[in-house]
Subunit: 262 residues, 2 copies
């Protein structure tokens, strides 16, 4: 099987022009088939503020109401996505900007209202992925760039977690590719000691993870990320890499400069 | 050759939810391969106003400065494009929302500065179209939906006339399809008498056009549209249809309810 990179970047890369440009340079230079998934960054909140649309939260969870879905559709699907595409095109990378609605690439359903009505939020329906549509792009040297949006099948766009989109794509495509899923975040990797930014653990296996958990060394925020990584691996993804954009892609096919989970 | 429809809609359809929904219903029901090109509508100006970005004009020509290109990228490439895609998907039409930057589908160059600096405006470079990329979508039952944006090859998005995008696509694809290019606008077609909205001329040939021009019967605004239509026909497009969205697509494969130019 061919190797496929599925790489997710978040606000810390998107919000800074220099970081973004240098990340895209590294990304463009990856020779294997690849897919980029981007989050939104702070610009949606900034534009929302200017338009007088307040960010709404219930119990700390963000709510996507009518105004908010319009803003994220504009900012994630338009501004951020097309800027990335134009930049990648200028670096000889044949990017094609997409959402999960386009060609129905990422099947999703509106999150059911239980205790909280999240509004226009989508949950990815992993079972309904049509792998052949992704292959059509990849086999024709196109590089899909996904904004974190899906649709409900009834004509509405849905705000959807970018980490979930990345792992769902990685899992679905592991049927036909050796998938390496890469999460870029603000640290260099999973740290042995929270206070030392350079104490990166280079490899976490399930055994090592159990040990780290029992020693209570890990910082709390990283635990769901590692759980998700192992879930992706159990579902067919070859390996997951976590670290910062700057280091991770330096020699992405050769060497690991973040935390490799496998 | 298979028939291909290239259909352009403008603000009068996009700005009105009912008109848009009923147009998309008709569009979705067309059985032949098809491509939709949409303009922007008034929403870009409305959002620009709210964000405190003034529309700028020099000698009556709109200028696309740094703030304006961000707004049209958001609104045309994000909000309008993805809303149309989600609606078409809900009507069993496998729409894929694109700009000219995506997969470098519509080659363009930034308009050179002569008397006026138009800013981030693109002119389509018809000679460089890669027809095979369009075929890839069309032959896999995807329906491209284009926002009027291109890119300059140096990482910038460019604002680009939607009529021109539609006619350039129509001309490029006439090498491999029998193309019918349809311009939806606010009138029922080219009118015999400006004061009578129902005096639609059903067929304009070059001979008929000469006669109409000599009789000075046509309203001024329609002349460039007819000139463009004949230019597209001279470049290979089979026929051009001009009229309002409501009537044009009623029986689009059967009957002409606007002005047919051939």
């Amino acid at each position: 099987m061919d190797r496929l990179f599925v790489i997710k970047i978040g606000g810390n890369v998107i919000d800074d022009e220099t970081s973004l440009s240098s990340f895209l340079e590294s990304f463009a230079s990856i020779k294997s088939p690849k897919i980029l998934v981007h989050g939104g960054g702070k610009i949606a909140t900034k534009i929302g503020d200017k338009l007088g649309v307040e960010s709404k939260y219930i119990n700390g969870r963000r709510i996507t109401d009518d105004d908010t879905i319009d803003i994220v559709t504009m900012v994630y699907g338009g501004l951020v996505n097309k800027k990335i595409v134009a930049q990648l095109q200028s670096k000889n990378c044949n990017a094609i900007g997409l959402t999960g609605a386009d060609a129905n690439l990422i099947p999703a359903t509106k999150r059911p209202v239980k205790d909280i009505d999240y509004g226009w939020v989508g949950d990815v329906d992993s079972g309904r992925f049509l792998v052949s549509s992704f292959q059509l792009f990849l086999e024709n040297s196109m590089v899909p760039v996904f904004a974190p949006l899906t649709h409900d099948g009834y004509g509405h766009i849905l705000n959807t977690n970018a980490d979930t989109i990345a792992s769902s794509i990685a899992v679905a495509l592991s049927a036909v590719y050796d998938v390496r899923l890469i999460y870029c975040f603000e640290r260099k990797g999973v740290l042995e000691s929270v206070d030392d930014a350079n104490s990166v653990i280079n490899l976490i296996t399930k055994e090592k993870y159990k040990q780290l958990l029992s020693e209570e060394k890990l910082f709390a925020g990283i635990i769901p990320k590692i759980d998700n990584a192992f879930a992706a691996i159990d579902a067919g993804v070859k390996e997951v890499l976590i670290g910062d954009a700057k280091n991770l892609l330096q020699n992405s096919t050769e060497q690991t400069l973040g935390t490799l989970i496998k």
